[in-house]
Every structure is written in C-alpha cells, then in structure tokens.
C-alpha cells in the first residue's frame, strides 16, 4: 500500500478522472474481496494534487493521558466498558488529542507529573467514580497541566462533577469528552452527537433509526413496516422524512420537539404530485422539499410550517432535487439535470441567482453544505460507483475524499466540520462510515448492513 502515494505523486497533473480509474484498477487487484476487512486502505490516499483539506498531524496534537479511574461501589467491568473505553475512544476520535496509553499512577505529585510529561503527556485527566447503594452515580474529574505542574503546587485547569443514575456512564463519558474539548481547544466537541439514518428492515421496507456517534445504542425512530426514507433533523431535533405508508410518498415528521410524528405535507386531499427529500431550514421554521408535477418533472418547493404556505423555487422542465441549506438559511445547494446530466447548483432561498457549482464529471449529486458554510460535500460518479468530494467555496476547487472499489454516497457533515458520515459498500451492501477530510482516517460507524442517508446531528 505504501507504493500508492508515490504513484499518485508521479501522476500529478494527470486528468483527475483517469487517475481515479487507474488507481481503481490497482486497488481492485490489491484488495480483491477483502473490501471491508481492509476498509481503511481504500481511502488512504490524499487527493491527486497532494493537498489536504483539513488535518491535524500527529505532531501537533495535544497529548492527554487518562489513568484508570478510582472506583467505589461498582464493578470494574462496568467502568471499563461503559466509561474508560468510551472516553478513550471519544478523545482519540475528537481530533485534536493524542491519547497517551501508559500505565503510570494518576498521583498528584511532582515526580508523577514528571513521569507523565516524559511520555509526551501535556494534560493529565484523573477520574473518581462512586456509586451509592441507591444507584446514584457521581463522576469527578480533574485535569492538570503536567508541564506546568512539575515541582510546584498546581491548580487543576478543570475540575468538574457529573451525576446520574445507573446506565448514565456512557452519556457522562461523552459529556466529559466534549467539556474537555471546549476547555482545552475552545471548539465544541461531537462525542455526544448522534446519527439518524435509514435501515432496510425487509424487502421494500425501510425505517428511520438513530445511533450514538460511537456506534452504540442503535434504535428505530419509526415502525411503519413500509418504505420510509430521506430523514432530515431540525436544529431542535425535530424529524422530517418521507414515508410511503399511505401508498404515495408523503412528508411526515414532528411539529414540536419530542412531539408525535404526524403528516407535514401535503395537506389531505391536496396532493399535486409526489413529495420527496425534506430538508429543515437552519432556523427550523421552513422545509425545503421536492415535489413532482404532472409532467414528471421535480421541483424544489419551500414549505412554511406555521402558515402552511408553499412556494415553488425551481420551475424548469427537468429534475431538481436534494436541497441542502447553507448555515445562514439564505441559500440552497441542489442537484439538477437542467444542463444534461445531474450536477450540483446553488440558488437563493427564493429561487433566485441559480448557478452551477460542479464542472467536472458527468454525474454529481447529494450536496451537503458544511456547518460553517465554507464547503460543500457531494458525490461524483465514475465507472458505476460514487466517491466523496468536497468543494471549497473560497478556492472554487474540488477535492476528492474517498477512493476505492466501493461506492460512497450520501455525505453529511459532523457538527464540528471535522468529519463526514456517509454510506459505502459494493454489491448493494451499504454500511455507514465516517472519514476526515484527508480521507486518512476512515472509520466504520456501526456494523449494520442496508444503511443509507445518514444525517449527523447534535440535536437528538
């Protein structure tokens, strides 16, 4: 595998699509049938021009150590499985941290700090977990700067107490990871986030599911025993999706946070074509959705939830679908075949100022505007499969994120913009993965077949 980057270097300047094809052939020979066993290899290349969009190199990471917690009142296995491993994974996957795995004492004296500092540790996280007879959990953490702490009395840079009932350890671990991220880097972490997605539950039956960011606790959000697809999550956690449970596809979801799932569109007896692909506006007040007309064309329309008013944003003799909002709620990216094959376009939220974004390739789609608004992820098809790309609006250039024999589809950004969740697989067996923007750290989100259309959210 080490030869591949060298090959890419040698091929700088070669037409991008041809490069993908050549590499694809080599990959096929190397990987053979071991696609998923060797999944990390599949995207282990930088884009052909050797640019990396965003990546923290190992050298610039913050060294953090978390000695095993002092525990009382609960079994070590519980702490290991539901806390220590969970927190370790959260910190490793957060991005800015390098977790130092050394079996040294978590003592608060200068000698211990020196020992930790010698391992490259900058921050030492010590934890005590107590469980009362009644099942009340108390988790106390302390973080010290071991460099500053050598030979002096040091004050903890962070001390915090977390409480909960039995079963809350996992949630507390995620909270600690996010709090550390906020305290030490100033960024909001994603350990407590979730991914909403579609899972096949039988022939022609799909349901909406959600799963924790670390792949734990998958569970269904719908149980219609029908075709239910295309979820969107509002900033306050409200769902919207398409279900065929009444025969024709309709938009269902929640009008209030935590409320019942009801039909959102179309109003009864007013079906003027079929509805697809709802997308919540960033303020959660509007839904961009897709509606077909009597000629078989599909347009993007805007539904104002409070008034029920609908406005058509596109009106052309073609397909318009896949609306994705910019974070300000003023623009939409979408897929249209108005100039021939499917391409990604942008427009104002009133349908004005339509312009084409993607210029290369014959089939581009599934745009996903990034949380800060500076990038748009999308998929591009070549030789019957899709790869993820990211278009940087500031540069006006696209970067390839995944490469391999598998087809990678339906990108959705992590709320911190560090990663993208997507569905990937070959021969129909799609699973959920996440990747950083360099494509170097590909991770399987959960070992479940038949998954599609993931949406990454803080709100659920």
């Amino acid at each position: 595998m080490m030869k591949i980057p060298a090959l890419i270097k040698a091929m700088n300047g070669v037409d991008r699509m041809r490069w993908i094809g050549v590499t694809g052939e080599i990959m096929k020979k190397l990987v053979l049938g071991l696609l998923f066993a060797l999944a990390p290899l599949l995207s282990a290349q930088a884009p052909p021009n050797q640019e990396v969009v965003l990546s923290a190199s190992a050298g610039s990471k913050l060294g953090i150590a978390l000695p095993y917690p002092r525990i009382s009142g609960l079994p070590e296995a519980t702490v290991t499985n539901e806390f220590h491993q969970v927190l370790t994974k959260d910190l490793e996957e957060a991005g800015p941290f390098a977790v130092i795995q050394k079996d040294l004492p978590g003592a608060t004296d200068a000698a211990s700090y020196k020992a930790w500092a010698d391992t490259g540790t900058e921050w030492l996280l010590t934890t005590a977990i107590n469980r009362s007879a009644g099942g009340d959990l108390e988790v106390m953490i302390q973080v010290v700067d071991v460099m500053a702490g050598q030979g002096k009395n040091v004050k903890a840079v962070m001390s915090k107490r977390y409480t909960g009932k039995d079963g809350a350890l996992r949630r507390i671990a995620h909270k600690i990871s996010d709090d550390l991220m906020a305290r030490l880097t100033g960024d909001q972490g994603v350990a407590s986030t979730r991914v909403v997605f579609v899972k096949e539950a039988g022939r022609g039956i799909k349901e909406i599911y959600q799963v924790d960011r670390d792949g734990a606790n998958p569970y269904p959000l719908t149980n219609y025993r029908s075709l239910t697809i295309s979820p969107s999550v509002a900033p306050d956690g409200r769902l919207a999706y398409v279900t065929y449970k009444g025969g024709a596809p309709e938009i269902w979801g929640q009008r209030v946070p935590g409320g019942p799932q009801v039909k959102l569109y179309p109003p009864s007896g007013k079906a003027e074509g079929h509805c697809f692909c709802p997308s919540w506006s960033p303020d959660g007040k509007r839904l961009a959705l897709v509606q077909s007309d009597r000629r078989g064309n599909t347009d993007i329309v805007m539904l104002d939830l409070a008034s029920g008013r609908v406005r058509r944003l596109t009106d052309s003799n073609c397909i318009n679908t896949d609306p994705s909002w910019n974070p300000a709620g003023t623009q939409l990216a979408f897929t249209s075949d108005r100039e021939g094959g499917p391409q990604v376009f942008l427009m104002g939220d009133d349908g004005s100022n339509v312009r084409r974004l993607t210029q290369e390739g014959t089939y581009n789609g599934s745009p996903a505007w990034s949380p800060t608004g500076s990038m748009i992820a999308y998929v591009s098809r070549f030789e019957g499969k899709f790869d993820l790309f990211v278009y940087k609006l500031g540069e006006g250039k696209s970067y390839q994120i995944t490469t391999g024999v598998a087809s990678s589809e339906s990108p959705s950004w992590s709320p911190d913009e560090r990663r993208i969740v997507f569905s990937s697989g070959s021969r129909g067996g799609m699973q959920l993965y996440t990747t950083d923007l360099s494509g170097n750290t590909l991770r399987k989100l959960i070992s479940l077949d038949g998954c599609q259309s993931p949406k990454w959210t803080r709100a659920r």
């Binding site: 025969g247 697809f276 896949d322 499917p342 599934s366 019957g384 339906s410 070959s426």
Partner: protein, 197 residues
Amino acid sequence: MRFARNLIPLAVVLTLGVGVACKKPAPAPAEPTAPAAATAPVTSDADAQKRAEEEAARRKAEAEAEAARKAAAAAEMARQEKFKNDAAAALKDINFEFDKSDIREMDKAKLQAIADFLKAYPEAKIQIAGNCDERGTVEYNLALGERRAHAAQNYLTGLGVAEARLSSISFGKEKPEVQGHDDQSWLINRNCQFSLQ
C-alpha cells in the same frame, strides 16, 4: 382461459342435473296416498296430496334457484379469471437505458397491449411504478423514477387511455425487482411496473 371455458358447460350440466333430480320426487307422493287412505280413513287424501305437491314445488324452486346461483357464481369466477389472466398477459414491465426515461421502440408493443387491455376492461385502473437501478443517488433516482412513470403514463394517454385510469408512483432505487449487481440485473431494475389498482 381453458379453465374459464370449461366452467360454462359444467355450470349447464349442473343446472340440468339438479333439475332432473328434483323432478323425481314429484310423482312419489301419489303412491303412498293409496295405502294411507285404506288404513287411515280419518285423514283427508286431498289435503295430504295438496301438501305433498306444494312441498315438491317448493323444493323444485329452491333447487332451481340454487342452480342459478351456482351458474352465476361460476360465470363470475370465469370472468374474473379471464380478467386476471388478461391483466397478467398485458401488464408487462418496460425497461429503460441508464439515466433515461425515453420509451424504447421495442416496448411500444407492450404499452399498446396495456392500452388494449384497458379498452377491453373499462372498469380497470392501473398504477405505474417507476424504478431505477442501484447506480445513482437515492434522491435523483426517486426523481428519475417519477419521470419514467410519467413517460409511460403519457404514452398510454396518447393511445387513448383516460388519464383518470392511470396513477403513478416512483420508488427510485429503493425497491429493486432483482438483487443482482450486473448489467442484466440493472436493466431489469430500470423499469416501469404496471399493477391493477
């Protein structure tokens, strides 16, 4: 078809058979009346005979009605069977090229057969479902399936089928007809399916 054709003679035989069978009891009451008159002079021979005749007539009418009902049911079954068979013969999938919704020349005869079927059965309504192969995005394929269903719908209305008798739906790539991942499977999955509503 063969089953349906055979049902009608069968129904006729049944009707006749029941008719013959119920004629036999009619003269029967006449015989017992004679010995009855000898041993039991109290009873009115005329009354007994009248009752017996009435009973016989009632049975005969019942049997005839039952036979008629059976014949009608058999005819209805045959009609439905023929409808089902004609529908199965006419409602064949049509297929599409990749990312296309044009009706292929070779599929026009199939659509003509569907139009003929709808003319032969004016009460029939059909749903047209547009489908795609797996090599496209979820949402674009839903739109493409919509376009395929409408292409078939337009062609049928062009052949004189009333629009009210045709409904359409798109399943995109969500409900593939076959699970394969080769050219042949993809072609099968890029289709319009026609089903009775």
